[in-house]
Symmetry: C2
Subunit: 221 residues, 2 copies
DNA sequence: AGAACACTTACAGTTCTTGTAAGGTTTCTT
DNA sequence: AAGAAACCTTACAAGAACTGTAAGTGTTCT
């Protein structure tokens, strides 16, 4: 594992954590503007988030819930409130681990190492809109269903999921599919899109691939 | 999830756990002969094991380590020794979760529910001899490498991994491959074995598919 | 040595995947 | 409203992948 994002408003605590984690070999980033916590985290694309529950202004639970709904980032909740209620609620809304502060450094590292197992399994999984795409096997997971996509389908869906809700222009798709932006057979791309859309429809996926006329495509949900 | 095996020598504690878990909808089995703990667990093929550390005679750590080396069963270690050292060591040797007794029922259930995420991801994964086969996607994981097998290859390997180190007779393989034990084209099976062996060799797998003359095949490592 | 069993290679039918072509539909502009 | 541009859909065919069959070779047992 590489990147961990620490979400902690107490300066002393945050620096302490950062130091320990970096000593242990992790690449640590921190959140500075707590009004945009989720955005900052997503921009840093960490594999793990250390989340303090009592943030200034924002509710820690809400951050966790939002992160989990928008991504599959692994979340370790840290709090000084040593209450069973907090632990239950944190796990309930999808946190992957819960520890109370002050926390022994070795315990924290052991738990993080334990979480890496889970993270490794999620690796190479692109998620969005209820879809989960494994590029290693070109397999698409939708709820209970599991479908093996063709390489072309997987390539396109990967590009779309890498930029959820925003435009993927045709050049990008040409590049991803055929390794060049020059060779332009618009039709080949159109056919590929039709095929992908058809297999998504079969799965009754609520996600929609929207055409942006003259520019490209984007996925929405 | 369905099955949980409880490994606990204290009668009162064990029955208490069993009751709570069954109330929560799990199918619970227990280990009776602690000299054959690992064998009993493996025979029950649970998705999760609740393991008490101080068992009569046997060392709990050893049980955990053996379980983890022989299978990918998820292990939750329970102990009354509330020592950081125990927690670190348990996690170190591969335990998936660590809790101290007496443990609040709701906390235990919340942690179990949390483990189910991990279990779900491991589901449909057959392991053995450094191989990991995902039958949902017919993908074989060997160390860093990832290979998509053909359905035939995956079917055979599945049968072999289901009975590691012991014989899989031809009838079983005919059944798995073509749905009948009657239709016997020995040669078709032989060709299929050759193909599987070839793809395993490409991956420089140390596992060996051994022919048992006149009866079938078995995998060893 | 012969028989039984197993292994390997090559070939062919089938299916899957993908590029191409052709025609239809939608959207934009004037 | 008409024409053009962009996009969608369907069908066809070449190539690759998968699997069963056949034939010949190698190995093991008696």
């Amino acid at each position: 594992m590489r990147r961990i994002t620490v979400v902690e408003d107490d300066n002393f605590m945050r620096e302490e954590l950062q130091y320990r984690l970096e000593q242990a070999g992790y690449e640590v980033s921190v959140v500075t503007d707590f009004s945009k916590t989720v955005e900052e985290i997503q921009a840093q694309t960490p594999e793990l988030v250390l989340l303090d529950l009592n943030l200034p202004g924002k509710n820690g639970y809400a951050v966790c819930r939002e992160l989990k709904s928008k991504s599959s980032i692994t979340v370790l909740v840290l709090t000084s409130r040593d209450q069973l209620k907090d632990e239950l609620q944190a796990l309930e809304i999808g946190a992957d681990e819960f520890l109370t502060k002050p926390c022994h450094g070795e315990r924290l590292l052991a738990r993080i190492r334990n979480l890496e197992k889970r993270i490794d399994q999620q690796q190479n999984r692109l998620e969005g809109g209820g879809l989960s795409l494994d590029r290693q096997t070109d397999t698409l997971y939708v709820g209970e269903e599991v479908v093996r996509l063709t390489e072309q389908e997987a390539t396109i869906l990967e590009q779309l999921l890498l930029h959820p809700g925003s435009l993927v222009n045709k050049q990008q798709l040409f590049q991803a599919l055929w390794g060049t932006e020059e060779y332009i057979d618009e039709n080949a791309l159109q056919v590929a899109m039709t095929r992908l859309r058809k297999t998504l429809t079969k799965l009754s996926v609520e996600s929609r691939i929207v055409t942006v006329r003259g520019r490209g495509y984007q996925i929405e949900w």
